[in-house]
């Protein structure tokens, strides 16, 4: 019983991290219809920037903020000077984002080196607390991640549903030409959304680097995981991303507890099943 309770908690908190990373990717995809393969590199670079900021200032919150902003700028540059130029050509857009991912990965290696690094958990969030109903001790930091994902998910949902900008973005998803014809500067919206997506990836790097570690190669691992999440949930759907993250997190958590040798297999199993039954993902719109 103890193990089952822990696995549920672990699944939810891992899902929280996955959601924080994947929400940025799904956001940029929903508008631009290009899978940004440099998202994992954004995550890694964000984590390392955060580490340096933390070492210099001692503030973990500042580290998250600066990492997010730094990567948002990077994303802005990628969109404004590279992706915009290749707009509409899927193959070139994918290759551009892939090349940028490789370049960022190598730069990280040059600047921060190849040794694994970790970000210290802030004093306030370290240690464990007893969870009332389940009666188990659980790490505070993981609970904090869960809260963060809920706030972020709620915030993004409100933003997309209730603000003018959000409504424009959703309209752009459904009918790109019409939105442009109505006089909106879709190009600028693209850039802004892409920068926001970069901000989320960079901040997620600090959160993830604090939970586990940062090391060259982590960029591709994180990219794979986020792709799993959004393939399950359906490209471009926020609720789908949340559900995808939950399925992935719970499957991985139970698999590592009971059959750890097969945890990767279990991780990819839902992807295979969903792709064969519903190729657009659980909440994805069918391709036009």
């Amino acid at each position: 019983m103890f193990l089952v309770k822990m696995c549920i908690l672990n699944g939810f908190t891992l899902a929280a991290l996955l959601f924080i990373v994947a929400s940025g990717l799904t956001l940029s995809f929903s508008l631009m219809r290009v899978v940004n393969l440099s998202h994992g590199a954004f995550y890694l670079a964000g984590g390392f920037v955060g580490l340096s900021v933390l070492n210099a200032s001692g503030s973990w919150l500042l580290a998250i903020g600066v990492a997010g902003i730094a990567i948002a700028v990077l994303a802005l540059v990628e969109e404004r000077f590279f992706l915009r130029w290749a707009r509409g050509n899927d193959l070139i857009e994918t290759l551009v984002s892939l090349s940028i991912a490789i370049i960022i990965g190598d730069l990280v290696l040059v600047i921060w080196g190849g040794y694994p690094k970790t970000i210290k958990i802030p004093e306030m969030l370290s240690g464990a607390v007893e969870i009332p109903i389940l009666v188990v001790y659980y790490p505070v930091y993981r609970l904090f991640m869960l809260a963060m994902a809920l706030v972020l998910g709620g915030g993004l949902w409100l933003f997309l549903k209730k603000t003018n900008l959000g409504i424009t973005i959703r309209a752009g998803v459904d009918n790109f030409n019409m939105v442009a014809a109505l006089g909106f500067n879709v190009k600028r919206i693209f850039t802004m959304v892409f920068a926001l997506s970069g901000f989320l990836a960079g901040a997620a790097g600090v959160v993830g680097g604090t939970l586990m570690m940062l090391v060259v190669g982590e960029d591709w691992r994180i990219l794979t995981l986020t792709l799993i999440v959004i393939i399950i949930g359906g490209l471009g759907s926020l609720i789908g991303t949340a559900v995808g993250a939950l399925i992935t997190g719970l499957a991985y958590s139970f698999a590592t507890a009971y059959i750890p040798e097969f945890s990767l297999f279990i991780l990819f199993l839902p992807v295979a099943v969903i792709l064969s039954i519903r190729p657009q993902g659980l909440f994805g719109k069918e391709a036009a």
Partner: protein
């Protein structure tokens, strides 16, 4: 006719005179190979820095003959490595090669070595035992280690000195950790341990939280946990270990050979204090050779070296000793390999302590049981026990053929339960061996 004979004689006299007095080469060309870009950079880079340090000590010269270094990058890819080995041999015409660093690279390199016996190779950090066992080839010598060699005695130590009966090993699911687990199990069960439970997770685990939960639920039954991963996975494991409060349920973590190496210690922090592990080198060794090596390395590269760099350094210094024996005549591959295999390093010569090669080309060397302590505010490994002259066959040195005839290590071979394990070794090593074990209460 007479003129012809005279010419032959003259040539012969001149040839032997040259060989006898001065060296026949005007430049010694050394090749190195290893991953110096990509995820495994630290392995290739570390070994290369060690080689360069050894060369710099002699000003890149041997008896006045200049030494030229050719470095190739494998990108941790075996295909790339085989191509580059060919370049080193055919394009750069190196006299010998030092490398590679990773397990799978080493296994492919020894195959290449078997096909190219005229290019001597000194294996760097690569540790699979078959490089110098079932696949051993004369021209490939390893001044390094095998995974199991350094951990046999650790199992013995955990059973005898620490008094543990039941242990859990958590590790990455591939051949190197399997070998580590196998060596540990042999030492542990043959010396009084009762059970070893192995938990394998993917090489790059996403999250350890559920493994931590399982370890917590098993803490009543088992005495200790051995972390059998490497690199970044160790950092994540230690971090979650503390988050889930396992430091209060188990004694200090036990580590496989690579867990508390120098480069990892600052990241692990105080969480690493008290961690036991074993290796053929420890950074806290007070010997003069080690202190000099550490300080010189720090001066050259700005940080202290770990075992990877030490092996690059040792490999080059073994080559130098072979050159001394040959008076610099490195252009005869056969003679060079023979000289390398005869090299004996003393405590004053190698940072790891004395070693010499067995007939398979792997060192017989000291194995240290290490413990992480804090000295002058810095974490380092000290030796709590030294096992001298351990071969790659460990306690089975006089049964090498039987050892190699046994089944290869897998994720669950040898068995982890005492009864099954003893049935298995009786099959391969004979009844007398088991009887002796029981009589002596373990290894002598």
């Amino acid at each position: 006719m007479a003129k012809g004979k005279f010419a032959v004689l003259l040539t012969a006299v001149m040839f032997f005179a040259t060989v006898g007095t001065v060296s026949a080469v005007d430049e010694i060309r050394v090749g190195t190979i290893g991953p110096t870009t990509g995820w495994a950079t630290i392995f290739g880079e570390g070994a290369l820095q060690g080689v360069k340090l050894a060369l710099a000590e002699r000003d890149y010269k041997f008896n006045g003959i200049p030494i030229k270094l050719f470095s190739e990058d494998t990108k941790a890819d075996v295909e790339v490595m085989v191509t580059k080995l060919g370049s080193l041999k055919n394009r750069d015409k190196v006299h010998f090669i030092i490398g590679p660093s990773l397990g799978h690279e080493g296994m492919a390199a020894v195959d290449w070595g078997a096909r190219n016996p005229d290019t001597p190779m000194l294996i760097g950090y690569s540790a699979p035992e078959d490089i110098t066992m079932r696949k051993a080839t004369y021209s490939v010598v390893r001044p390094g280690w095998t995974g199991a060699q350094v951990i046999f005695n650790f199992g013995q130590y955990c059973a005898k000195d620490l008094g543990y009966k039941k242990i859990i090993i958590v590790g990455q699911d591939y051949s190197y950790p399997w070998d580590q687990a196998a060596g540990f199990i042999r030492g542990f069960l043959e010396n009084g341990g009762e059970e070893v439970l192995r938990i394998w997770h993917p090489v790059e685990a996403v999250d350890f939280s559920s493994i931590m939960a399982r370890l917590a639920s098993l803490s009543g039954e088992y005495d200790a946990v051995l972390n059998n991963s490497g690199g970044a996975q160790v950092v994540a494991f230690f971090k979650q270990w503390k988050q889930f409060g396992l430091d209060k349920k188990y004694p200090q973590i036990l580590g496989q050979a690579n867990v508390p190496i120098v480069s990892m210690l600052p990241e692990l922090g105080d969480q690493a204090l008290g961690v036991y592990s074993s290796l053929h080198y420890y950074d806290g060794n007070p010997s003069k050779a080690n202190q000099k090596f550490r300080e010189d390395f720090k001066k050259a590269y700005g940080h202290y070296p770990d075992v990877i760099a030490m092996q690059g350094y040792d490999a080059m210094r073994v080559a130098f000793k072979a050159m001394e024996a040959l008076n610099g005549k490195v252009d005869d591959p056969k003679a060079f390999v023979e000289a390398v295999r005869k090299v004996k390093m003393s405590n004053a010569e190698s940072p790891r302590g004395p070693f010499y090669f067995d007939s398979f080309g792997n060192p017989i060397q000291n194995i240290y049981i290490k413990k992480v302590v804090k000295k002058d505010g810095k974490l380092m490994n000290i030796a709590v026990k030294t096992y001298e002259n351990v071969s790659q066959f460990g306690p089975y040195a006089n049964m090498a053929q039987k050892y190699m005839a046994g089944p290869a290590t897998t994720r669950d071979y040898p068995p982890g339960k005492k009864a099954e394990y003893f049935a298995e070794i009786e099959k391969w090593f004979g009844k007398d061996y088991v009887k002796n074990l029981k009589k002596n209460g373990g290894w002598k």
